[in-house]
Structures are given as C-alpha cells and as structure tokens.
C-alpha cells in the first residue's frame, strides 16, 4: 500500500532549562511568563546571575531598578552580576 502525504503539521515543544521551577520573585513557573507578560517564550526570557540564580528578566530588572543601594541577588544576597 502506498500512502501519499498531502499535508502535515509540525508540532514542537520547548522548555526553559533552569535549575528551579518557579521564579523566586513572582513565584510563577519559569515555563510560563512573568505576571506582566501574556505570552511565555522569547518575549519574557530568563536571566542568570553569576551566582547561578535565575529569574524572569522582567522580575529581576524591576527589583534591581527599585534599589538605590548595592544591587544584590534576592536569593543569596551576593552582588548581582548578569551571567554572560
């Protein structure tokens, strides 16, 4: 029996590879988005600090921008530096 494929739909799934499930700031899942965003994915990315802690980019920026004093990782209180 020969089958001719007339049409097909590709389906893919994706995950952020973080070493935790939820963002420690907004407490939402990393695979979802921060509370200010509607769609998970590249528009609401994750960022890592050199201390290896990970947050939604929007969440950590909101926190760092509200700090006049030294900018620290909210998890471990080491100085916050973005990991390249």
């Amino acid at each position: 029996m020969k089958v001719k494929v007339k049409q097909w739909n590709g389906v893919a799934s994706w995950l952020w590879v973080a070493n935790d499930e939820n963002c420690g700031i907004c407490r939402m899942p990393f695979n979802g988005c921060c509370p200010d965003c509607k769609v998970p994915g590249d528009d609401c990315p994750l960022v890592w600090g050199q201390c290896s802690h990970c947050f939604h980019m929007h969440c950590i920026l909101k926190w760092l921008n509200s700090q006049q004093v030294q900018q620290q990782c909210p998890m471990c209180r080491q100085e916050w530096k973005f990991k390249e």
Partner: protein
C-alpha cells in the same frame, strides 16, 4: 477601585494563601479579614508550648502593598503584646519587614532587609522566633526591653517581665473561646503534621538532571578524576546504568513504532 489590569501582587498573594492553608506553618492559622480583599490577612498565632507564650492566642493583621513582593507587608498585632520589638500600636519591628534603603541610623544592614524572595512563610517564622528571642539592640518598646534584660540576666529571678506576659497570655483565653478555638498546649498538638507533597517527584528527577548538566563545567577537574576511578574499579557503573537503561527503554519504544 479603579479598573485596571490585575496587579501581579494578586497572583502572588493568591498562591501564597493557598500554600499556607494547605501546608500551614506550625502555630499559625491564616484567613482573610474580608473574603473579597486579598491584601488584608488575619493571622491567629498559638503561643509555642514550653515558653512564656504557652496557651496564648494572639491575633495579628498583615497588610500587603499593591507592589508586593517588591515592597514588604506590615505586620501588626491586634492583641496587646509586651515585647521589646513590638511597638505600643502592635507594629512588629523586624529587619526583614523593612525595605532595603540605606539608613545607617537603623543599625540594620541592607542585606538583612526585605527582598522579593521573602514571603509570608519567612515572616511568620521570624515573628515566632522573635517572640522568645527578642532583639534588645534596637528595641521598639524600651521599657519592655529593659524589663526583659533584667528577667534574662537574673535568670528568671526578676519576674516582672514573665508575669506581664503570662497575664497577657491568660487574657487571650476569652478570645480563643469566642472563636471556638482550642489552643494547643503540648508539642504534639502544636506541631502540624506536614504532608510531603508527592506530585513533585517526577519534576525532581528533571531538576536533578538539569542541575547535573549545569555543574559539569564547574566540576571539570573532579570529573576527570572520577572517570579514572570508574575505569579502574567500575564502581560508578551502576549509576551510569540507571541513566542509560531508561534511555534504552525509550529507544525500544521508538523502534517498536517503526516496526508496525
């Protein structure tokens, strides 16, 4: 209230409330002051057994700002409390409830203060430990602090502090009765049986895998030495088998599909 997009604090508070009601902190019961208002919580606190506060039933309100968890909530006792770190009006003075502004007068380091990974659970734990271990370095109630130090330094001979607290504890019995609450007085009753969440077990595996990947770069040196030892003794191979066998199982599944 003005009609606007749901503030993110609402989601965070909803999740915290649910988690605290499903897996409570020992000695605390949490409810909303008003069903419709997520930003005002009522806390009932049981005095820990074997302490001055044993048998006590204390009420407090936690008020959250709209930008929670970026700003801290306030924690105010409604029950009268004689305590070095609780103000006359019931406000609790702990560093994690203070925003991290630079204030050299306070004697508190910015690193001891509020940050958005703090939550109600950490606040409740701070409050319960504060009750029996007041911080006399920055008292909110100086008289209580002096009295507490006399009591502590005299090893309980100077009873004034303890007597005031026991009196306050006794006077909370009426409120407990009004609420229909039996205050636990033994450790067994006080300790909540915490259920271990089981649904996480599969994601734990995932977490371990990913974490291992992450660690590889940092542990390069160690890896090399481990490889040598595996080669020699083969002691690690059982662990390796565990990992590969699951992979093999998946492969079998796939090949099965191809056959048919």
């Amino acid at each position: 209230m003005a009609h606007q997009a749901t503030p993110s604090s609402q989601k965070a508070l909803m999740m915290e409330l649910k988690s605290l009601q499903e897996q409570p902190v020992e000695g605390f019961r949490i409810t909303l002051v008003e069903e419709s208002d997520l930003y005002n919580w009522e806390v009932a606190i049981f005095g820990p057994p074997n302490t001055l506060y044993e048998g006590g039933y204390f009420k407090a309100h936690i008020k959250f700002p709209v930008d929670y968890p970026y700003s801290p909530p306030t924690f105010r006792f409604l029950t009268k409390m004689w305590h070095p770190n609780i103000y006359e009006n019931g406000d609790v003075c702990i560093s994690i409830l203070h925003p991290p502004v630079d204030d050299p007068q306070s004697g508190e380091l910015p690193s001891e203060r509020w940050n958005p990974t703090q939550n109600v659970r950490t606040i409740l734990l701070s409050v319960i430990s504060l009750l029996n271990e007041p911080n006399t370095f920055s008292p909110a109630n100086v008289d209580a602090s002096v009295m507490f130090r006399k009591w502590r330094d005299s090893k309980g001979k100077d009873k004034e502090y303890a007597e005031i607290i026991r009196k306050q504890v006794m006077s909370t019995a009426a409120e407990a009765e009004r609420d229909g609450v039996k205050v636990p007085t033994t450790l067994a009753e006080y300790c909540v049986q915490t259920r271990v969440p089981s649904q996480d077990s599969s994601s734990d595996l995932l977490y371990d895998d990913l974490y291992d990947d992450d660690m590889e770069e940092e542990d390069e040196d160690e890896d090399e030495s481990e490889m040598e030892s595996v080669g020699e003794a083969g002691g690690m191979s059982s662990v390796e088998d565990g990992g590969t066998s699951t992979r093999r199982y998946d492969n079998q599944d796939d090949s099965g599909n191809e056959d048919s």
